[in-house]
Structures are given as C-alpha cells and as structure tokens.
Amino acid sequence: MTTSTAADAVERPEDREPKQMPLAKAITAALRDTMADDDRTLLIGEDIGALGGVFRVTDGLQAQFGADRVIDSPLAESGVIGTCIGMAMRGYRPVAEIQFDGFVFPAFNQITTQLAKIHNRTDGKVTMPVTVRLPYGGSIGSIEHHSESPEALFAHTAGLRLVTPSNAHDAYWMTRQAIACQDPVFVLEPKRRYWLKGEVDFQNPAPDAFTAQVLREGTDATIAAYGPLVPTALAAAAAAAEDGRSVEVIDIRSLSPLDDETIARSGAKTGRLVVAHEAPTFGGFGGEIAARVSERAYHRMLAPVLRVGGFHMPYPPSQEEHRYLPDIDRMLEAVERSFSYDR
C-alpha cells in the first residue's frame, strides 16, 4: 500500500496564485489538496481510478495517491456508501462518488437509514464524516436516469447536509469544507456547469459552505436559485435590468442547513421572491423556502412566493428537456407574474 509523497511536488494551495479553471477541475484540486493534507481522506466510487470518473473529476488522483486511497469500487452503490460508513467508523474520511444522480437510489437505504442516523443512534458516540459527491441535474442531452435532481429527498432526511456550488471558487472551497465537516455532507455537483470556468482564489476561502449569498443586489424582486440554475438566474436578472426591473439574485448554496434568514431578508427587502430549481416543484424544495419566507416576511411581501421548476413527471426524453427545464424566460415570466399581485 502506498502513502504517496507525490503531493509534495504540488505547490501548496496557500502559495498558489488565483487561477481560472473549470468547476470540475476546481473539485479535482480540492480533492487533491485535501488528500495531500490528510492521509485519512479516501476516495471511492465507480470508474474513479484509471479513468478518473466519467466526468474526469478524479483524473490523475489514483496515479498520485495510489489505488488504496482512490478506490475503484465494485459496481454496487449501496456497497459504496455502506463501506464508507464502516471506514468512517474506523476514523477515515471517505469521499464517495456516485456516478450519476439517477444511480443514487440503490444506495438510498444506506444513506437514509444508516449514514444519516448513526451519529444520532449512537447518542453522538460515532461520527460520520462522509462526503457524497453527486453529479446532478439536466441539460446535458443524455438518456434516462442521467439528468435528475433528487435533492429534496435528501434535504428531507435529518442527519444529512447538502451543499451545491454554482461556480468554480465555491466548488473548490465547498468540497474542502464538506470533507472537513464531521457530518455526512452531500456535494451536489451541477454537471451541466462542470466546464464553466471561473477564478479560484486558493488563499481566500469562500464564505461558509452552509450559508446563502447575495450575488447581485436588486430592489424590485428576488430570484433565489442553487447549483445549475444560478448562472441562469444571473442572466435573467441582467435581462430584467434591460427592461428596467432591478432583480436581486441569491445563491442558496446550502439546502441543509438552509440559510432561510438571508433569503427571507431579501424577500422582505424586494417584496417579491421567485425560487427556481430543476427538480419538480410539486413536493419540492422550493415549497420549503416559500413556507419559511412567508412566515418570516409575511407583512413585507407584495406577492406570494412563486416557484419555477420541473413538472410533475419523470425527467423527460432529453429532446424535450429545453421545454421542461426552467430557463431565463420562465424565470422572467415568474418575476412578471409576481408584479400582477399589486393592489
């Protein structure tokens, strides 16, 4: 077994200049830097070794750290999560890669009845610092089961944390913070944004992974989105500005815990809130935000919180996904609709 020192050859993150890189490569850098710092951090998943994962996020890591730290698992998702639990019990910090959103379900039992509950079940005696990397979301023109957004199922599960980056800088820092956390953390990776470039500043950490951030200030309405739809929301706000509407944009970033305070503050400020996600709106996470904001900011709201999301159907054949997924126009329509409640 290897305890690699190859990492020493890599420049320390704190000596590195800020760098433009795709979101996926920012995650790779986060994994590499964490593994170099801590030999208890292990990666496990399907095809993550020689291939570097189907999205190449773990590219080069097995060559650098060895097959004992970058583990190609048997093709068994329940096995991946179940063995992460056992490794975590022994003091390791496993990072599991689930190949695609739609293939997390064979592990659903291990995630919800085991991973999420063990700290509680053992009255705090056993911690579960397990990170689950889950590439999610659509707009990649793929076949069935490759474009899903199952986040509400996990956000609903007490004991799990869920974060989702929308840009390269967050991707780097959220991944590092997720692995450092003593709780199980899902990092929902917006796979259609994997190749979106952005600057990663290795010396200045992103804000706490478990908070929301105001990305664009506005006064007339707020769009709150996360992961893949944050760039869409920013584009919608830019388009609205051309029409004379000042739209604030919030990157929700963390679904559990949820920074409802930041979202409600913006709702109270602009009086109109649109929540956008790719997942179906019915029974979805947007409903949770709507309920919380209406409780916190009821008297300041000028319109009900409106949701923009997928329809109550299985993810459609991707030829039709452009009509299913929220886009700039759907967001703008909701913003306009929120003005129709004016008295």
């Binding site: 077994m1 305890t3 030999d39 292990l42 004992d68 583990i71 698992s73 048997p74 068994a76 329940s78 096995g79 999560i81 179940g82 063995t83 992460c84 639990i85 056992g86 490794m87 975590a88 019990m89 022994r90 003091g91 390791y92 496993p94 064979p106 039992n109 291990q110 009845t113 085991q114 509950k117 700290h119 509680n120 079940r121 053992t122 009255d123 705090g124 005696k125 056993v126 911690t127 579960m128 007490a158 004991g159 944390r161 956390c181 003593q182 709780d183 478990f210 559990s256 815990p257 949820l258 920074d259 409802d260 305070e261 409600a264 919380r292 409780e295 916190r296 900011a297 009821y298």
Partner: protein, 368 residues
Amino acid sequence: MQPIQLLAPDGSFAEDEVYAPYIRALGDDVLREMYRSMATARRLDNEATSLQRQGQLELWVPCLGQEAGQTGVITALREDDMVFPTYREHAMALHRGITPEELLRQFRAAGHSGWDPLEHSFNVYSVVLGAQTLHAAGWAMGLQRDQAAGRAEDELVVACLGDGASSQGDVHESMVFASSYGLPMLYFIQNNHWAISVPVATQSKHPLALRAHGYGFEGVRVDGNDVLASFAVAAHHAPQVREGNPQIIEAVTYRMGAHTTADDPTKYRTSEEVESWKAKDPISRYATWLEAEGHADSGWFSEVDAEAKDLAADLRRAAMSMEGLELERVFDTVYAEPHRQIETEKAWLKDFEAGFAEQTGETEGERR
C-alpha cells in the same frame, strides 16, 4: 451438507480429527466460562421477556436456543476483532462486557442504543436487515489500510446475519467487496430456520454456507446448538480469515422463542417442531458433557445458577431506574456540528413548552 458436530444432544463427544483438538486444548476456565455465558444469556432472556410482559420493556428479541453458536464463535475470537451484530446477539454482547442494562436500553426505548461500539469492539444493534454487513466490510477496508500503515494487528471482522437477511442485496454486495479486496471477513450466519413466519426454504433451498463458493471463498456449516463445534470451527478458520480469506460460518440452530415479544409463532409452526428442537437444547447437552468429563461439578453449577439469579434482580432494578434520553439530547445528536434548523426548532420547543398558555397561535417565524 451435514453440520459439523462435536457434542451430540445426549452430551456425547465425537473425536473429530480436525476440530476436536481445539477443544482438547482448552482448560477448565474457558470451558466453564462458555457455560456461564450461555446460562447468563438465557437468564437474561427469560427475565427480559417477563419485564416486557409487565410493560417495563417495549419489546424483547429473545436469543433463546441460539446461545451456543454465539458463545462458541465469540469465545474463539480475540477481543479486538470487531463484531457487527444484528439485534439478537445477546450472548455475544454479554461476552464483550456489555452490561444487561446497556442491552435493555434500546428495548425499553430509552435510547436507540446502549453502548459505545468502539469501546467494546462490538457495534450497536442494527435493525435494517443486512445493512451492517456492509459497515463490517468498510471497517475491514479501513483495517487493511491501517495494517499497511502499521497501525493495526491482524484483526478480523465479524458480520452477523440471519437466514432471512441472507436474501438482502446488501449481504451480496458485502460479500462481493470482501472477495474483491480480500477482506478479513467472517460472515456468521445464524440459520435459526425462521425469518419471523417465513421458513428458511423460502430464502434458500441450499445450505447458505454454499453461497461462499460463488464469491470464491469458503463456507462451513456447524451445529449451532453445539458450543464446542462452534468454538472449534471459528478457531480453525480464524487464522485464514485474518490473512484476508473471507469465510462463512453457517450455524444451524433454532429460534426456540417467538421472533419478538410481539410475535405469535403458533400461527406458522407446529409444537412438534418446537419440541423436537427442545431435545437438542444447547445448554443441557453442554452441562451433561462438562459434568461427565469432570470439568465442573454440581456445586459449581449451583454457583452459576445463583449468579444468574442475581443478574436477574439487578436487571429488574436497572430497567425500572433507567433514565431515558430526552428530546433535547436527540436534537443535539442529529448532527455533530451546529445546524441552523435544529437550533431553531429546539429553541422553539423550549419556548413553547415554557409559555404554553400565552403563546398560542404564534409561529416560529413571528417569534424571531
């Protein structure tokens, strides 16, 4: 596939070439300790069952009839061999120093578990069938890496499961991982003939031990009502397991009691069947042998009986005075690190309960 047996139901001993020497090498201390473990477990079972009847426990899961397999196997292992039990391994738990009070905790619903798994190298009980076999495989993967780094000895890892759980996908996945990575895994399957009301034939028409062959490792069947054979089989195979050769031990036994105190076995099995297994009781045959071979005399047996009675009294006292986990503590252990929603809800409940009368109608949001 005839289970390996050293001790027949009448207490006679078979001088098997492979396995008997492991028994012949044992001193009175170990032989007696095994009896004590079995007798204690049985006493605990009886007492816990009556505590449940009296409303002192929410549920009890008896291990009645399965004491020999559990005791034999755990006695043959080392203290640092991590065990991942189901919910019926009371004899094994007691052997690892878990107190009867700790064992009852979960069944009184005073908490979800009662002991520190790392302190005893014995995980907390696990109710979702088969799930723990993957945790065991993961523990073994960590162990392998610790060994490579010089941080661990040649421990092995025990994954317990029942005949019913053998049908779970997680068990298959666990065995795939064990085989693929050469994990030091001992699968201890207690085939007690029933999964609640469903007979073992519905899970498998073939000996469960034979499943090992499909994964490329060894499987052995042992008379699970024979503590000596169970000990010897585990002692014999443990060294190979330690070297990374997974192994199934299928202990053929019988669930003498109900599945749990909530079950009514008369609906699905005959009293003839139960009677036929009573004749194969694990404790009486072992007592017969111990006495016949001069390892213990009647004075010693009455001493053990007296100890068991003390335990019963302690148990009753412990159950009645056990302090439950308060909801505040449940809030505090959902996450290891602070979580906004947990804190808000915990504070809300505190306010709500403190000022019940004047706070009607207010919501969490308005109060902030």
